[in-house]
Symmetry: C2
Subunit: 334 residues, 2 copies
């Protein structure tokens, strides 16, 4: 692939549209996150997207005024709404207004801790998929022992096809490059056993597809490789398995840390590390295959976690995630 | 269900057929395990199954003579053999001789660290499945935070049907009873999200099947519930997902323990707990739905781990795993 020439400099200010609504604990958490970002990250400007009066008040309460703009949005999508229908009927919902700001290039990325399905629907309907992408993927970065690992899909597409897993390999490859995990990231297929022919029907067919791609495909990786790392930079799976694994990693981190903490006079460091590895629910997930950057986090995220999602969004904008993905897909489809 | 009346007393000696061959590090590891068992577990007698001269020598080297018998077997199944064909062509392979001892009631259970496929084939072909069982399941006990959790299937059947997941629910329920996790264990379906209608096609159909069973089915559980526990005593899934999750738990335990160990002056306790939770590869797995008890462990197991598999086998024999399973299946099929 050829690298895009118009890449934004490391120093340019990146503007992030931040959805004020949708968090479980109310908009204050997101406002606190905005304050953290604006105080500690001079390279990021924010557009706060929410009911204008409320949002202005939240900003005023925190003396937020520099590098911030407010754009009005009506309401959030509720958990029991069909997200696609909600966005079609009420385009003024906050997650969709944030997506529109990305689509209109007023923001480099949007970040939300609302309904994941809503974020995915807004990204697909309003920002749009890149040419050649049939389904967007949801990707997370797992802090493994050896080095970070990109895991996708973690919940976008639960019934995947072999062709879709091959597409995810390209999306994950471009994402790992944008994260600077490697110049030419390796790709592995999450399965059971490392012998050819192992795995279920989907994996056996996907393996053949992946072998044919112009990528450094290393073949099978197993569940432990996700958290230990060092085998593949990008681990490809379907959204069902990816989501179950991500949650399993979270549970195991908490379990292990809890037990270890009982073995020391001071349990705090063990529990702290456990929490920081309990990424399952609290990883900022990046939507891939979209013609813009969209990051979604758990509704129960803390202000610090929301600030980390904003930083992650700015990082992949700076490193040309979308242009890299488009270039890789266009090289492949030629 | 009615409890079988002829249950073996807690104090009766249980005889375990122990496959001497098949371990990665040679038969010495299994012989060391035998010595550990015979020294520390007066309620267990062993039949060592392996080439008679070699096995006699291994026993003599360790001064093993009480509560032990030696039964000759030719060889092990190698990793690149088709296990079903190997057992049909060479019934004298050690894993099959061990299974025959169970089938002939000379042993209460067999334990092997050979080829998992070989153990499964020997159990199915030589011991046989219980009436009504279409596929044996491979189950492990996960030491979760709240209490132990039974996870199945972890590799027996990678392309499962909704009907098979319902059958696994019964097998896991009887196993959890035999482990005395609960008088009436709860059963959960491993999926993503807790709302009805979430999950892939297999899970949506399996959910309907599970609702119709005479079991305490609590509905969806997520990946983190496996390691944290407290939600369901038995977690049902297909062999692909179960195996990936089991390995993911192992990787996450090692990852978390490694990071925590760096935060303390004495890293040893953290790493020790990490190893003990790294159950993925080293859990003794019990085959369910078989008309006898068969336990399989990883080829790279240590002597201590093999001794633990023997203890697990004796525990489920004492608590009538097979009779409980048969009674539960017969109650269901009436």
């Amino acid at each position: 692939m050829t690298l895009p020439e118009d890449r934004a400099g490391e120093d340019a200010v990146v503007t992030i549209a931040l959805d004020v609504l949708g968090g479980d604990a109310g908009p204050e958490v997101v406002a606190d996150a905005a304050l953290q970002v604006l105080t500690s990250q001079p390279g990021i400007a924010l557009i706060l997207v929410g009911p204008s009066e409320l949002t202005r008040q939240l900003a005023a309460d925190r003396s937020i005024s520099d590098r911030v703009e407010i754009v009005h949005a009506d309401s959030a999508i509720s958990m029991d709404e069909d997200p696609v229908r909600a966005i079609r009927n009420r385009p003024q919902v906050s997650v969709n207004v944030a997506a529109e700001l990305v689509h209109n290039s007023r923001a480099g990325a949007c970040v939300s801790i609302g309904h994941t399905g809503g974020v995915l629907a807004a990204a697909t309907l309003t920002i749009g998929r890149l040419p050649g992408v049939t389904r967007a993927a949801v990707a997370v970065v797992v802090p493994a022992v050896e080095h970070d690992v990109v895991l996708l899909d973690v919940g976008g597409t639960v019934d995947a096809t072999p062709e879709l897993l091959a597409q995810f390999a390209h999306l994950g490859h471009a994402f790992a490059q944008a994260l600077e995990l490697s110049d030419d990231p390796t790709v592995g297929l999450l399965t059971i056993g490392s012998e050819p022919g192992k795995g279920d029907a989907l994996r056996r067919l996907a393996h053949e597809q992946l072998l044919a791609l112009p990528l450094r495909y290393i073949g099978a990786v197993e569940g432990d490789d996700v958290a230990i790392g060092g085998k593949a930079d990008v681990v490809v799976t379907d959204g069902f398995t990816g989501n179950v694994v991500l949650k399993a990693l979270e549970g195991a981190a908490i379990n292990t840390a809890t037990q270890i903490s009982k073995r020391y006079a001071d349990p705090a460091p063990a529990l702290e590390v456990g929490q920081s590895f309990a990424i399952g629910a609290h990883a900022g997930a990046v939507l891939l295959g979209i013609d813009g950057v969209s990051v979604v986090g758990h509704g129960a995220s803390t202000a610090g976690e929301v600030a980390a999602y904003v930083a992650l969004a700015a990082r992949v904008v700076r490193h040309d995630l979308v242009a890299r993905t488009a270039a890789e897909l266009s090289d492949t489809n030629q």
